[in-house]
Symmetry: C2
Subunit: 153 residues, 2 copies
DNA sequence: CCACAAAGGTTTCAAATTGAAACCGCTTGC
DNA sequence: GCAAGCGGTTTCAATTTGAAACCTTTGTGG
């Protein structure tokens, strides 16, 4: 066995992100970071993950620029982990995953949480994919296209 | 070591989906399925994954109701793997992941693909999160709220 | 009809990863 | 001054991964 496969060099821009967050724990750490968790111990308690694993995941997330370490505000020698802008960009992935989970993974009648608009307390709308002109697009109405350079954007 | 951790019973509706698709390959299989791939051999060639691993992942995806097997249309004894409705629900996850990848993982000047509107060939809009009343919401403007029963929906 | 090839897996086995628990160093709190 | 807590690292066995070999069921050429 050579090495655990990495998608780092894949052409596909779905594959490459999985290199950074495509394991069982990383996305949950990011979710907790969105919930305001910052300390090693907080993540460990929330996730119940072994400390060596958490340590490796945090290091990987920092290496990928998803989290960054900042000095602890209480003046202690320790530091805290906070989301970078890149890390906050995962918000839409989390929302999409959560909406899918709400639809297909919630047992009937079980205690249940929604994402809600903080201002009104009402559930947010489902994600939709829209064309440039505003038309809503179904999965079959999109495809991938190649552009040689970014200037076509 | 007891067993590889499963999020199957987690309360969190982000964690539970990861049980179904939270490994290095499953989401790429789903991506290929959206691209129209259906046969074992097609997935294997596209992903370059070992056959035993692909076999296990396809079985898992079928067990989770994300793919289903259908008889091959050419009358051969083999079957094909196609997305279920639940599987097609992952479209938004893939779009979110891809847009994140486009933003943060594409090297400068490298050949590049976009998701485009099939009708016009123009890139699709970025995902946005909206409140019930249509206001666009930033990451910090949402939270999770508990509802005892689904009837509050 | 028989040999041979291809598709679609399964089996085998070594190497890598995971996880639980023990350990370690540094600050506090008492 | 000493125990406790935080934030990890180390150790080591169980599990998972991946490459390659193998098997089984059709399809095909001679």
């Amino acid at each position: 066995m050579v090495k655990r496969t990495s998608h780092h060099e894949a052409d596909c821009l779905i594959a490459r992100p999985l290199d950074a967050i495509g394991d069982w724990w990383s996305l949950l750490i990011v979710r907790d970071a969105f919930d305001g968790l910052r300390r090693f111990g907080e993540f460990q308690k929330s996730l119940g993950v072994a400390k060596n694993i958490l340590s490796a995941r945090l290091r990987n997330l920092v290496a990928h620029g998803i989290l960054e370490t900042v000095p602890a505000p209480d003046g202690s020698a320790h530091h805290e982990y906070v989301l970078t802008q890149k890390g906050r960009g995962l918000f839409y992935v989390l929302v999409a995953l959560r909406q899918w989970g709400e639809t297909y993974f919630s047992g009937p009648g079980e205690p249940y949480t929604f994402m809600v608009d903080t201002l009104t307390g009402r559930p947010i709308k489902r994600l939709e994919v829209h064309a440039e002109d505003g038309r809503q697009l179904a999965p079959g109405e999109t495809r991938l296209a190649d552009f040689r350079n970014r200037e076509t954007e």
